[in-house]
Structures are given as C-alpha cells and as structure tokens.
Symmetry: C2
C-alpha cells in the first residue's frame, strides 16, 4: 500500500524564500543553515515566524538599547515622515539635524564642537581617517600613516578595513590597504612597553592619526583594556600632534555606564565616531564629531581645503528624529536607572560565576558583561555554532564570538528576562 | 537723537542655529553662505522656514522620484515601525527583505540572481569592487587592478574614491588608493580608440573588474555616452573574464526611461549597484546585486571564501519597506505614464532651446535633461553660485554642476511645475 502523500505546504516559509535571492553579510552560505525569520519585535523580545520568542541579549548588534519598536521613538519618526522626509544636506539644512547637533553637544565630551554626518560605522571611521590625514595635508605636514590597535575593528570599506587589525578574511584586499602601523592594547602590565613601541613608531614613521576603540574592543570579542594606559597613549599622541580618533560606534550612548567611554579618560580625543545606538535601533545613520582645532584646519579661502565627502542621505531627517528621541530617553532618569539596574544585576551574576572552572577573564564595563568559556572554539566553528544554538533553544539571542560569551542587553530588559539570560549561560557552563 | 534699537529676535533662525555645530558635506564653509532651512516637503515642493516654496527639480539628489512624503510609502513604513524595526541580518532574515528581493528580481536584468545589502552608494560600489577582486582571488586568478572610466564617480570612501576619476579634491588621500587603470568614455567617434586602449591594458595589467556608470555619468555633470561603444567594452570584458560592475546608483529606477540604464545594452553586467531612489527618497539603503556566477565563486566549504562584509543596519526592515512601496509605484501604470509625460515635455523644451546660442550639448535620456550654458564657470565658483541663486530666487531648486544645467524632476511633478522650471531656465539663458 502506498503511503499517503504528505500534504504539500501551500506556502514556503520565510526562511525558505530567503534562500532564493539573499546573500547575507559575514556568512559562508555553504556552511550556514537557514536564516531564522523574525516577524515581530517588542522591547527586549524577538518573535520568529513560528511564534517562538527570544530575548534580545545583544540589543540587535548594540542598537536597540531602548527596546524594539519603542513608541516614544516611532511616534516621532512617523510624525516627521509627514513633514519632511529628505533634503540635500549640501546648501540646505533642517530642524531635526540642528536639534540633534544641539542635543549631541550636551552629552559629548566638552572639546567636541562640529558634527559631520554619514550612514554607518564604516563611513564614520573613514571620515575620521580622512579628517586626520587631511588635517596634516592642509597644514602642510608630511604625515601619511595611521596608527591603530592590533586587534581593532573599524568597519568593512577599504579605509576602515585597512585600520582594522582584526580583518581575518580580507586576503583578497590586502594589496590595497592604506598605510597603518599597530601597537598592542595596554593591559596594565605592558603599559610601558606599549608607550615605548609608540615612541619608536613616532620616530620612524610619519604618523598622522591614531584610531582606537576606547576601553572595549567589540569585534575582538569584547576585550577590555587599561584606562590609564590608553590615557598615556593619548597624551603622547597629543604631544606629538597625532590626531586621535575614538571609534565609539559600539561603546557610545550609555553602554559603558557613561554616555561615552571616552569619559573614563582625562585625555579627550580630537574626533569621535558614532553610529549603531545613535539612532536608537531604528535607522542607519552615523556622526563623526570633532574639535574646533580640526574644523579650523579645513576652514579656508581655498576650496580644496574643505572636506569633499558626502553621502546622498546625509543627515536624513527621519534618522535625526530617531536619534533625538533616543537621546531624550538616554538622559531620562528612567533609562539612567535602568542602566544602573542592569549593571548591578551583571555584577551579582559575575560574582556568582567568576570562580567557575570554565569561566575565564570575566569582565564588565557598564551593561557589557563578557567572559571566555574555557573550551577551544573556532570563531566560526561547529562548537561555537552549537553554543549559539543552545542559547536560541533556551529562547535567548546571544551571539558568542568564538568562545567568548557576552551580554549587552537593551536597558529596558526586565529583571525576569535578565535572569533567563543568566540561567541559559549557567546551563551552557554545565553542558559545554 | 538715538536711533531706536532694533527689536532683538527672540529666537535665532534655523539657518543661524545651523552654523554653530554642523559641518556640511561638500562644503567649504568659509566660502559658503548660510544653509537654507527646509521645514516641509510635499510631492515636488520644498518649503523653507520663511514659507517660500521651491520646486524640487533634481528630486533631492535623485531620490524622491515619487514625490516627497508620499503617503503610499510613509503609511507602509509607519506600519512596519510598529511590527519590526531592526534585526541582525547575519543568521536572521525578515519578510520586508525577502519581499524586496523578490520584487527587485522582477525588474532587474535577467542575469541578476543574488542581493547583498548595505547603506549608501559608496558602500554599494565598495562591495561591487570587493566582489570583483575576491571573485578572482577565490578562483586563484592573479588579478588586482580595477578598470574605470576617466570621469567616473563612485563615492567617497577609500575604495570608492580610488575608482572615481572625478575626485578633484582628494589630494590628501591619493597615496592610499587602490590600483586603477582608466579608459575614456566612448562617444561614438572614438569607440575604436577606446577598445584599442582597453586591449592594451588587458595585455599589460591584471585587470579584475570594470566599474562604470552606464550611459550617464552623474557627478561628471550628466555626461552621456554611446550605448554601442559601452556594449563593445562590456563584450571585450566578458571575453577576458573581467567582472563588470554597473554603478546604477544614479541611473536606476526609471530615470533613464527604463528601470535600469543597463536595459539599453545587450551585454549585461555581472554586478549592479543600487541606492538613492531605491528607497524612494525616504531612508538610506543600498543593494549590490550579482549573477549566479559571482555568488558561486564565494560559495564554498572554505569559510574564508565568503564575503566578510557587513554593516549593522544591513537590510533594515523600514528601508526595505520603503523600497518595496517604491517599486510598487515604479511599476504602476500611473508612474509609467508620468515618466512618459516628463520625457515628452523635456523633448518639447529641448527642441525649443536647442538652437539658442548659449545652449551647448543638449542631451536627454528619460527624465534627465542637461546642457552646458556656454559661459565659463568654475565648478564651485562665484558665477555658478549666482546661477544657483537665480533658480532659487525663481522658486526652482536646480543645482548646476559648473556650467551644466540639468533637470531630473520627481515623476509626479505637475505640468505647471515643469513649465516653471523651463521658464526659469529660459530666463537664465537671457541673464547669464
């Protein structure tokens, strides 16, 4: 007797339809499984097409820190859409950009004075690099080398790739990189050696600028370094007229417990790159801010001393509106209390697992909690993928970087949801 | 007797507030005046803070082709904001991206098969360049030079700057550019010479890919070139396994009278870059599409053969929703009739002014009408600025590129508004 035919699915799932024409970022599709289709999100929760929910433990790549689909943001963007959607930002301006510039100046380090807009972290750092190189070019200084940390990550366009030490799969492009010299991050023990190395590089190379992720290197797996050591590096840069570019794309907007990681340091950068949480997880946008000193080097009777960089949707009014609503939330008592609450919960949990034999290098800054699972794993290997799947099966979206487990939740996450994340981590400690 | 004191303005104007902290793109602020503050936009009209209106004759840099604040688009984006704002696109997918991939495949040239998302034209072309270089790298071919047109423009990040022949103010960065060889555009008279030059370059250089703006070079001042000549270049590239990258950031989505300029050619590109009007003038987003041949060269058991490029807001659900609504409009009878109507009006106007002694090189493709005013002008010079001001004073936003006057209006522009633009151009012919 013949088996009854399986009822044919009338409609393919979203995950199946995805496979036909989409090429996903940072993905080797032959080795990756189906992409999980998310159909809805609210506050700290994601919902897939089968109705299963997941706690967004990394704020969708460090963006949605006030929670998904937050009405305090979406209502303002919806209103702006009926008023002014887009206008050329060369020769023109608009109120959302102006108000955003005023709001950002309230929270940025005091030496910051001017803002240059773009669309993502890569373009924000490219603009930072261009500002540093052209600063010296405009002043007639012969400096054309960038300095960066060994395991920094600053984006995927050619300039940004060049300064990223952590470009593991960029073999096809290395012939084309801009000139970069590197120093190790200061860890408190090696500070003197790092300064020594920097002194040598200053003697032997024409260093124009130094680009760095302050205190936390995100893509390097939430590696944290020594504030005092970084401060001394920045001081040495200042004394040698090396323009400092803080890449706060990941660290900005409260994640470290302060608005910007740079606030932990005495020495302030000449230039700061912002994106990700800038727009509260709604829309792509980036800002590169700088001090008056930088701006003045471009302000001239010679047209060619200007910064001839521009993207079409620069300072998009809808993205500016989202950013403004985000900063209003960031500076509210409610969100500041949420940040303190998450920091405290992380501290408690950290104490609990710190002594576990499989927990290595437990570290925390603000709402960022990270440690290495003491198990050998490739960054994109099978065991790492099993670890990822363990979390997803527990209804928790964490995205281990190799064997580094980290949590960077939306500030509005509930205590119960935090506990679920911690529980799923403890289960991972048992099972791996 | 003392003059009565002028009443002090309680509030600064937006244009005044703008000056405090904003650094505008492509602007030498010492030579630029105040930025004009736009507070509202609807269909083809912009309104400044004093209530004066301007006809948006260049669709806000070729983006808002269905008109500003079009409810058929904004309503869909507002609904999407309540459902799903943002999700990591690595490991995850969502319906707006999937539906957009299906909709784009309906209108793209038939050989296109896969889509890779990013945020702006610069990143779209950087991804195109990376695909071309890594294609050969993955196949074990020793090819590391890009080919480009002499006056092409492809963006402002380092890779995009490198291939742009038209980077007049990039002196500070030229040390850092990727390797590029250039050929002139074919103009119908020089086609054989251009092919000859290309043959020589193929013999002497290891050319990986050719990036070009098909038929219309936007930033080069709407220069148009010969379709047959371009077709022969693409054929020669194909025969020599040079990957062809069509930069349709400016030309895409109906502006040339067809959905893509590539449709005017027999030879189809391996890769197509899209942005600007992709999202109907609402939000930043870009797509780099490619043929199956390109994708297959990255599809491998080796992780490192994947394309390790990714921006945080890649395939942002709100931008995908705007793009979907835009494509629905583009393919509607109404908008197709609008495109035909604008093309016809341009033709009539072109006939009228073609013989004018000050009109040089009048040219039209689709809704793009351009000519040179036969008066010497610097690209960013005083006379050019006076010409710009003439249009603004007439209530028309046109943005001359040096002495090139061009019109690229929203498809929904009314006949009356088109007439106002034409009248202001005729006045310019009298007065300059």
């Amino acid at each position: 007797m013949q088996e009854p035919e399986k009822p044919r699915r009338k409609h393919q799932s979203l995950s199946q339809r995805d496979q036909k024409h989409l090429w996903h970022p940072l993905t080797q599709h032959k080795l990756a499984g189906e992409m999980l289709a998310v159909v809805r999100a609210k506050a700290a929760l994601l919902f897939d097409e089968d109705g299963k929910s997941y706690i967004d433990g990394i704020s969708s790549w460090y963006t949605c820190i006030y929670g998904h689909c937050n009405e305090k943001i979406t209502e303002k963007v919806a209103a702006q859409m009926q008023q002014l959607d887009q206008i050329v930002f060369s020769g023109f301006t608009h109120e959302p950009a102006i108000r955003l510039s005023e709001a950002l100046m309230e929270i940025l380090p005091k030496n910051q004075d001017k803002l240059f807009f773009s669309d993502n972290g890569s373009t924000a750092t490219e603009i930072g690099i261009k500002m540093a190189l052209q600063y010296h070019h405009n002043l007639g200084n012969d400096r054309n080398v960038m300095l960066a940390f060994e395991e920094g990550f600053h984006g995927d366009t050619f300039g940004a790739m060049s300064v990223s030490g952590l470009s593991v799969y960029n073999g096809a492009f290395e012939d084309h990189f801009i000139r970069v010299e590197r120093i190790p991050v200061p860890n408190g023990d090696n500070n003197e050696e790092v300064l020594q190395k920097l002194q040598e590089l200053i003697q032997t190379h024409k260093i124009a600028g130094f680009i760095y992720e302050p205190l936390v290197q995100g893509a390097a797996a939430m590696k944290m370094h020594d504030a005092q050591g970084l401060n001394e590096i920045l001081k040495l840069c200042r004394e040698n007229e090396i323009i400092t570019v803080a890449d706060e794309v990941m660290t900005g907007f409260g994640k470290t417990g302060k608005n910007f990681a740079s606030e932990y340091l005495e020495e302030q950068p000449d230039i700061i790159c912002m994106s990700k949480a800038l727009t509260a997880g709604l829309l792509p946008m980036a800002v590169t801010s700088c001090s008056r000193k930088i701006y003045d080097a471009f302000y001239s009777d010679e047209i060619s001393k200007g910064l001839f960089h521009g993207h079409t949707y620069t300072a998009n009014p809808l993205a500016c509106t989202a950013a403004l609503a985000g900063i209003a939330l960031l500076t509210s008592n409610e969100i500041q209390q949420d940040i303190a609450r998450v920091m405290k919960a992380h501290q408690e949990f950290g104490k609990k697992i710190r002594q576990h034999p499989k927990v290595k290098n437990l570290r925390q800054l603000g709402v960022i909690l990270a440690f290495e699972l003491d198990v050998q794993m490739e960054r994109y290997g099978d065991l790492r993928n099993q670890l990822f799947q363990h979390f997803m099966d527990s209804g928790v979206f964490l995205r281990p970087l190799g064997n580094t487990i980290y949590v960077l939740p939306p500030y509005v996450i509930t205590d119960g949801q935090l506990t679920e994340i911690y529980n799923s981590i403890e289960k991972a400690l048992e099972n791996f």
